[in-house]
């Protein structure tokens, strides 16, 4: 299989941190170790031949029953070379943390808060990691697969 330049460069540069790469339906995907996410994304943004300057999307997926359970998914876009890449970083349930990439793309601010809000993944180094779509006092993380669809939340109200 012919590798795209992005995946090739990633593989050359970070062969120790790349777990797997594939291109399903033309979507370049690299699965990387979560410890190296900062280094890899910084490289992707700054490398002259890649220049992934847009962080389009950041989300997480809960593969319940698989180990590691979560995957944090980054979608990057390079304006100059008109290319997209998907970076996935598996996050185990026991150590549900990953480095925040807010220092690389400020856009990650709210996306990380959302992933924290809905999946309970802690982004280390995020300056303001609190719930964004749900309210303070919401119990549990609703997009986890073990969160029942019809679960009721306790009533909250003003403290006094």
């Amino acid at each position: 299989m012919e590798l795209s330049i992005t995946l090739k460069k990633l593989k050359e540069r970070f062969h120790n941190s790349i777990i797997d790469i594939h291109s399903f339906r033309g979507d370049d995907t690299a699965i990387v170790k979560k410890e190296d996410i900062l280094r890899i994304t910084k490289f992707l943004r700054d490398d002259e031949e890649l220049l992934y300057n847009f962080m389009m999307d950041l989300t997480a997926v809960d593969y319940l029953g698989r180990e590691p359970r979560f995957e944090v998914v980054y979608h990057l876009y390079s304006l100059k070379y008109n290319k997209r890449v998907r970076i996935k970083a598996p996050v185990p349930e026991q150590d549900c943390t990953i480095d925040s990439i807010i220092s690389i793309w400020i856009a990650a601010d709210w996306f990380e808060r959302e992933a924290y809000d809905l999946y309970g993944i802690i982004f280390k180094g995020h300056p303001n990691l609190k719930r964004i779509l749900l309210y303070e006092g919401f119990k549990g993380y609703p997009l986890r697969k073990d969160y029942p669809v019809r679960k009721r939340q306790p009533l909250i109200g003003p403290e006094n």
């Binding site: 979507d27 989300t59 793309w105 400020i106």
Partner: protein
């Protein structure tokens, strides 16, 4: 002379004493969610020093209804009504985006006629989105008449959409591998009449706003985003283009038949609210051009793929052929079953890149159905755009990022 100077210095000293001793404090006010400018969908916690904004926090989530969770608990095709309610002003684009993402996941290509119709409905939705946005920008600055002119135009566009799919707002028109139905009889003539009126209204609004000194003063040099900032904040769509970055998914990665259409993407210079307004006004014209071209070149033929495992066949077939009945039964009960895998597909929504990230585990239900809402990063940049300016500047800035609660909060 020297006495005068002495007196002056005394007065100055006295004045500086006053400013030193004057006790001032910041005022924190909650703007929204039930505030006229926030449309009931967002709350700003604003710290004011007089009228100047010192600190600005955005709280969203008032319209959160668990889009992803709902999609995960339904079949693949059952997500369409939910996508309608993302950006409810341009619901057809959401339909098209989701359908294209699922089709990419399956790996099917729709017939030509279907692609043209999808382009037409996408652009009509974009028109309705931009009409609403520009209209609201007038309304929120007090120009109520401009608002109603464009609301009339939007209503005419909605009449067109209604003639296509029977609904004005929540269309639920596109299907995986096809469309619900073909264009109605006489659609081209209807569109021509509507566009004629829309152009008249466009000229009226242009006269009312574009060279209006008060409007210019209100929107110019307010909410400036430099190109680098805009990219770093993840801006897309008209707001990014207003900052001077020529990125439009329709041009960068053409989907459907956009590569065959002759249209231009307007670019702003400064990235202030006035540029955003101008970009939207010009995109209205371009969208009308695209629709006209698509209607001129639309070929005849089927609108659905001939793959009974993904798209229902016509009722005639279902009633007469046993295979069709079986497939129909299976797709209705179990849903279509895309192969295992994951895709990301982006279309140009009304506010920018509307991306769908789908994960399939081979079953009839989406394992994950994530939507990348274009106005989410735009809203996140609000503090950056308004801090340090006056509270009145929140109005045009918030309007021009066109935050749609249904899309931002999902």
């Amino acid at each position: 002379m020297s006495y005068g100077l002495f007196l002056m210095s005394r007065v100055c000293n006295f004045m500086s004493d006053i400013t030193k001793e004057l006790h001032t404090e910041h005022m924190v006010i909650n703007m929204g969610p039930s505030h006229p400018v926030t449309h009931g969908t967002v709350k700003f916690v604003v710290t004011l020093d007089g009228e100047t904004i010192v600190n600005f926090e955005v709280e969203i989530g008032y319209l959160h209804r668990g889009f992803e969770k709902m999609c995960e608990s339904g079949l693949w095709e059952q997500a369409f009504p939910y996508t309608d309610r993302l950006n409810y002003v341009s619901s057809m684009i959401n339909n098209v985006g989701y359908a294209l993402a699922v089709e990419k996941l399956i790996g099917i290509d729709t017939p030509e006629r279907c692609k043209y119709i999808r382009v037409i409905v996408s652009e009509l939705s974009r028109l309705s989105d931009h009409f609403t946005n520009v209209a609201a920008s007038g309304l929120e600055l007090g120009a109520f008449t401009a608002f109603l002119y464009f609301v009339e135009a939007r209503d005419l566009i909605w009449d067109l959409l209604e003639s296509i799919c029977g609904a004005r707002l929540t269309s639920n028109y596109v299907r995986i591998g096809g469309l619900k139905n073909d264009l109605p009889e006489g659609f081209k003539g209807h569109t021509a009449r509507v566009f004629k009126r829309c152009r008249e209204l466009w000229i009226d609004v242009d006269k009312l706003l574009t060279k209006n000194r008060i409007f210019l003063d209100r929107v110019r040099d307010v909410g400036i985003m430099s190109p680098d900032d805009a990219i770093a904040y993840g801006f897309t769509g008209p707001c990014l283009r207003a900052s001077g970055v020529p990125y439009d998914v329709r041009k960068a990665q053409p989907y459907l038949v956009y590569d065959r259409m002759d249209f231009e993407i307007p670019i702003g210079e400064k990235g202030d609210n006035f540029d955003r307004y101008l970009v939207r006004m010009e995109e209205i014209n371009q969208s009308m051009r695209i629709v006209e071209q698509a209607l001129d070149n639309i070929p005849d033929g089927p609108i659905n793929v001939d793959m009974p495992e993904y798209r229902w066949q016509s009722k005639d077939d279902i009633y007469t052929k046993i295979e069709s009945v079986i497939f129909h039964f299976k797709t209705v009960v179990e849903g279509i079953k895309p192969p295992e895998g994951e895709v990301y597909f982006a279309v140009e929504g009304g506010n920018g890149e509307l991306g769908f990230y789908l994960v399939s585990n081979g079953s009839g239900k989406p394992y994950k159905c994530r939507v990348r809402p274009p106005c989410f990063p735009l809203t996140a940049a609000m503090p950056k755009m308004v801090t340090g300016s006056l509270i009145a500047d929140v109005v045009p800035t918030f309007d021009m990022i066109n935050m749609i609660g249904g899309e931002c909060d999902r």
